[in-house]
């Protein structure tokens, strides 16, 4: 089986590959969105703690 034959999928290329492409998009997004959210949460918390310690230092 040649490469072009494989990608042609017996004439059904549009349907098969768009299905697989969509699956890829859905899976990646479902991984990426919570990942990004988590990283942002961590960043926000760290910034908050840093500010708190700064305030404590200046007040004491």
């Amino acid at each position: 089986m040649s490469m072009s034959e494989f990608f042609n999928m017996g004439g059904y290329a549009v349907f098969v590959w768009s299905s697989y492409g969509l699956a890829l998009v859905v899976l990646v997004l479902n991984w990426f969105i919570p990942y990004q959210q988590h990283q942002q949460n961590i960043k926000k918390l760290k910034r908050q703690y840093r500010q708190e310690t700064k305030q404590n230092d200046s007040s004491s």
Binding site: M1, G10, F15, V16, A23, W31, P34, Y35, H38, L45
Partner: protein, 248 residues
């Protein structure tokens, strides 16, 4: 044994423990997911022979069927969490419930779209009111209802319990809806639906199908852990364990 289980259950229920546990498992789960997916895709796209009736187009099932299975499985996970929430008031179960909903909705969406992409070459149209497609569509609405209700209630502890009740009500209704739709479909079978006889599936197709189903299950756990970790951190942002983790 039972004692051990109860202890394990309680430990799992504590947010800091689960946060650390999920974090340490994520890399391993990703490895397992990658192996399963590569094997499943290779088996499904390369090794499995074309179907004698549907040619190459049937290869969509390696996405479609696992996604459809997941759509039902995740709702069951949600309803089980709902019971735990209502009986034991467990915070973690609330978080798992609500974090499962968007994943379940996206698998349902995936199953619907791949189903219609498969339907186009087989039935000649993208959408037929086939029993499975129709009940899958209603399942999508149920997921969106859960997500919408959670978003609408500001007090998140209350929202968690509301969603738990809704998930259980939905779980009782899913079989009723499913059989109603199936029965309705047998009455109104459209002319466009060409009957696809189902020969017993050959093992060269079955093995990649099961591999993909497993890989989707592992993927669900990965995505769920990610979401639960983010949500836990957000909910518990004022608690001591979070402070200990990130104050440097």
């Amino acid at each position: 044994m039972f004692k051990w289980f109860v202890k394990w259950f309680h430990r799992m229920g504590s947010p800091p423990h689960f946060y650390r546990f999920a974090g340490s498992w994520l890399p391993w789960l990703t490895v397992v997911f990658t192996v399963l997916t590569v094997a499943g895709l290779y088996g499904g796209l390369v090794l499995a022979p074309p179907d004698y009736q549907q040619g190459e187009s049937y290869r969509i099932i390696f996405i479609h069927v696992p996604a459809a299975w997941m759509s039902m499985f995740i709702y069951m996970v949600m309803a089980s969490c709902g019971i735990i929430v209502l009986v034991w008031r467990m915070k973690l179960a609330e978080v798992v419930l609500i974090c499962s909903a968007p994943i379940g909705a996206s698998f349902t969406f995936l199953a619907l779209v791949t189903g219609s992409l498969w339907g186009k070459p087989m039935w000649g149209t993208y959408w037929v009111w086939d029993a499975r497609l129709t009940s899958e569509l209603i399942l999508l609405f149920l997921y969106l209802g859960v997500i919408g209700l959670y978003g609408a209630i500001d007090e998140k502890r209350v929202a968690g319990r509301a969603v738990a009740i809704l998930a259980i009500v939905g779980m009782i209704n899913i079989p009723i809806i499913h059989y109603s739709v199936e029965w309705w479909n047998s009455l109104h079978q459209g002319a466009t639906v060409t009957k696809m006889d189902k020969p017993s599936i050959h093992w060269t197709m079955l093995v990649p199908l099961l591999l993909m189903a497993l890989s989707f299950k592992v993927y669900f756990i990965i995505s769920l852990f990610q979401r639960v970790r983010a949500e836990l951190l957000h909910r518990e942002r004022n608690s001591r364990w979070v402070e200990e983790l990130f104050r440097s």
